[in-house]
Amino acid sequence: MTISNDTAAPQRTSVPGGKKKNSLTAGQKPGWTWIAVLAGALVVAAGITALLGGGAFSWVGWLIIAAVLYVLGMYLVTRVIENARRATDGLWQNLVWAAFLLALIPLISVIWAVVANGLPTLLETPQLLWRDMQGVTGSDDIATQTEGAPLAGGFLHGLVGTLMITLLATVISVPIGLLTSIYLVEYGRGGWFSRAIVFFVDVMTGIPSIVAGLFAFAAVQLVITTFIGDGPRQLQMVKMGLTAAIALSVLMIPVVVRSTEEMLRVVPNELREASYALGVRKWRTIFKVVLPTAMSGIASGVTLSIARVTGETAPILVTAGYIATTNWNPFDGWMTALPVYIYRQLINPTAPAAGDPSAERAWAAALVLIVIVMLLNLIARIVAKAFAPKKTGR
């Protein structure tokens, strides 16, 4: 069969319709409906709010009533103009949006509160970042509050404490967590021992952080009284950065195990077999094929687990105490972590009669803490991208 040339060539035909109404879109509500309904809802809600509130007008009440009226109004309008199916569809769509906005409210409001309260202080006295509370007394704060003297003190010791304790906790938990998950995925093969480990790791995930702190305190105390002595000086040694790091490790290890395990499980078995078929031993296969392939997921999981424990307060307060000076040595002496600093500044202001300067310092510290956690999350994303196996090279 031959195809003649002129049938193969595309024919230019005039497109019918133009301004004529398309019958396929007949019976649909016009595109501006939602604006009209929204405007109506806002106006009616304003009226209702004014009536209910008497003299005072509540903005929050207005928005809530308007939202409810809008969702109902859209449902009724769609039902009248179009049909019940489209109306139900739209109703659920609006409800899903409402749920999303509700979930966003606490997030936005927390960030807003911290930025609004912390940023001005931080911009005004950036010295907070490189000063600690050594020598800062109540009279300094009273001077700040009553005479407008510059804000004294800072939270360098908190930054250092958080940094050292988190670093040490990471150094402890990442090898343990990584090797545990390697055992679970590569060696355990679902035997009773690996099932028991999985069970206890899950239990560990649910441990209240204060219990982790008490555990670390008791464990370190036991070690010190057994090997060094149980005099009052030795008991003083228990509270140090290392003890806090152990407490955080208890919280971190299950997170690392779980995320790493997931990542190792998704490494295709074919890659392991390809490596075995080249005469490569199992441990080399794990370290040179399986781990590099899963590295991006593992790295981001580890970073997220760090971010998760950076904000812990109670276990660090129990295990590392609270001091006013900067201590770089996590193996000797008390340390202050940023969350503990915030807590203490708000609950026990430096000047009980003049709490405002302490509160300002606490808000600034909270902002710095949130920025640190956000940076960690950002790093997790960058690391995940950097380590990800290259997909194409074409």
Binding site: R272, E273, L278, T285, T392
Partner: protein
């Protein structure tokens, strides 16, 4: 470099389930042997026992003797890793290491084992293996690009190059063309014909024309029914299996009257 393979009363198990029963086969060095048969008849399982890959799966084991140039690879005390350095394997789906470049994929057998070598030795191995797999001309300008960026057929030839880079005696291929288009299949089949000058090649295939094209000898495996073990039904020269088989089951299978 090339070794003969003899299986003596080999039984292969998954846990308590006997997947392959009583295989006796003699595979000559420097030849291509094809395993054909319906799905689930144990040809891949048997293939994986030749380099002790079978036992990687939990509960999997083999009984009987499997001789590589007269030496039993299932004798007590034999290290499976040593066996696998002598018997290379190419898998059904191309599986280059995604974290490695083309060059590193070729050198994987050395690098993963921590073998140190000079750059010139490494370059020599890369070029020789890629030429051996008919891939050199296509990738010589992008050796540092990831192996996963190649087409499926090129990836499969990369995997073949990777297994011949460690200079094995035997190369096992588990349906190497089942994921490839006809052009790539032709390239692999040409390659198999060249490989038999130096290696003992054993190939599992579902494609009977392919077996007829590439294999010197063909083994037909069959299974009596679900849950029954697979058996070696007939093993002979390829022309005999396809033109004048002595067993009725073989005749039914190769003539398409199966089942």
């Amino acid at each position: 470099m090339s070794k003969r393979i003899d299986a003596v009363d080999l039984n292969v198990y998954y846990g308590n389930f006997r997947a392959v029963e009583g295989v006796n086969i003699n595979i000559e060095p420097r030849s291509v042997t094809a395993f054909i048969g319906p799905s689930g008849c144990g040809k891949t399982t048997f293939l994986r026992t030749i380099n002790r890959m079978h036992e990687v799966l939990p509960g999997a084991r083999a009984e009987g003797r499997l001789l590589l140039d007269g030496e039993d690879i299932y004798a007590p005390g034999v290290d499976p890793v040593t066996v696998r350095t002598m018997v290379g394997m190419v898998f059904q789906r191309p599986n280059p290491f995604p974290t490695m470049s083309i060059r590193d994929n070729i050198l994987a057998g050395y690098k993963l084992n921590g073998t140190r070598m000079s750059k010139s030795t490494a370059d020599g191995i890369v070029e020789k293996s890629l030429r051996g797999a008919n891939l050199w001309e296509e990738v010589k300008d992008r050796l540092d690009k990831p192996g996963s960026g190649l087409s499926g057929g090129q990836q499969q030839r990369l995997c073949i190059a990777r297994s011949i880079a460690v200079e094995p005696d035997v190369i096992l291929m588990d349906e190497p063309c089942s994921a490839l288009d006809p052009i790539s299949t032709l390239a692999i089949e040409d390659l198999i014909n060249e490989l038999k000058d130096n290696y003992t090649v054993v190939i599992v295939t579902h494609n009977m024309q392919q077996a007829a094209r590439v294999a010197d000898k063909t083994a037909f495996f069959n299974i009596a029914g679900t849950g029954k073990p697979g058996k070696l039904i007939e093993y002979d020269d390829t022309s005999v299996i396809f033109n004048n088989p002595s067993n009725k089951q073989t005749e039914d299978y190769v003539s398409g009257r199966f089942g």
